[in-house]
């Protein structure tokens, strides 16, 4: 059977493959104790963390203050409510 850390690492890789970076970091953290000395693990986890930090920084300092929200109503029509 796989232990919890191994399962978490597998799920982290799946999340990375699907570009769900925040989720991946969560799984990496759960597996961290077990894979502490694994270099590949450390590179993937730290790169994902750095990417999230960059994304976070971009979201607050992007300089683009336009927020675009699209809503799709039940009749199938889209309404653009850009602000």
């Amino acid at each position: 059977m796989l232990n919890a850390a191994e399962k978490s690492y597998c799920l982290a890789l799946q999340a990375l493959r699907n570009k769900r970076y925040q989720e991946a970091v969560g799984y990496f953290d759960r597996a961290a104790d077990y894979f502490e000395q694994n270099k590949e693990f450390a590179v993937l986890r730290d790169t994902t963390r750095l990417l999230l930090a960059v994304k976070g920084e971009l979201s607050v300092s992007g300089g683009d203050d336009t927020l675009v929200i699209e809503e799709v109503f039940s009749d199938g029509k889209e309404a653009d409510v850009s602000r």
């Binding site: 191994e6 694994n38 590949e40 790169t47 994902t48 990417l51 960059v54 971009l58």
Partner: protein, 226 residues
């Protein structure tokens, strides 16, 4: 270049790096997904659920692993171990349903095919490992029985590592990889044994000794790899 542009460039670079890293491991990740799913099924079964359909569906998806020889020796042992767990929980007697019997048969076929085979069919034999009744012992104490058990595991591992290989060095490479990357203790013992054998036969073994020491260091540092 503005700060935002720099951050965007860095974001793109990091995403590309992760994409490529994942792409390089795509096949391995697929295998790990499958092993993880099988492990989930085994846990469902331990929870008292009927997993016949789930196992059947798993085989339908992953049957090609057997034919394509996609699994590494360590992965095959992992899959066989989990299938053995599931097999023990599946009643396959006359009173069980056809679907259950079919799944049990499929597991037997899979685990039977997964065992290492010898190229000479006349000497080929199937080795079935069974765990005896558990006894209360001091697990740290080395005993003759434990050593014999380890020796058997090493023999099986060697059969895995040397299958389809033309030279002992290639089997040693495989064993060292398994010892380093997967933290496999038997692989470490096997590597040391092969290195000693090669040394006795006049081969230069220094590079292998370095790899062995690195694998040993890794094993002392961590528990394993995914």
């Amino acid at each position: 270049m503005s700060r935002t542009d720099t951050l965007k460039k860095l974001e793109h670079m990091l995403e590309s790096f992760l994409d490529r890293a994942v792409a390089l491991k795509a096949e391995r990740i697929g295998v790990l997904d499958g092993i993880n799913r099988l492990d989930d099924i085994a846990r469902e079964m331990q929870g008292g659920n009927d997993v016949t359909d789930s196992v059947g569906s798993w085989f339908a998806t992953h049957n090609r692993w057997l034919d394509d020889r996609m699994l590494r020796p360590a992965e095959r042992r992992r899959v066989n171990g989990i299938l053995d767990e599931i097999r023990r929980g599946i009643p396959a007697g006359a009173s069980s349903s056809p679907a259950t019997r079919k799944v049990a048969g499929e597991i037997d076929r899979w685990t039977g095919a997964g065992r290492p085979s010898r190229p000479d069919s006349e000497t080929a034999s199937r080795l079935v490992l069974r765990r005896g009744t558990e006894e209360k012992t001091d697990h740290r104490e080395p005993t003759i029985a434990k050593f014999a058990n380890t020796l058997e595991k090493i023999t099986n591992l060697f059969a895995d590592c040397s299958g389809n290989k033309k030279h002992l060095m290639s089997a040693l490479d495989d064993a060292l990889l398994s010892a380093g990357n997967q933290g496999n203790k038997e692989a470490l013992h096997l590597s040391a044994l092969i290195i000693y054998y090669l040394k006795q036969n006049g081969y230069k073994v220094e590079p292998y000794v370095s790899q062995l020491k690195e694998a040993e260091r890794l094993q002392k540092g961590h528990g394993g790899s995914c």
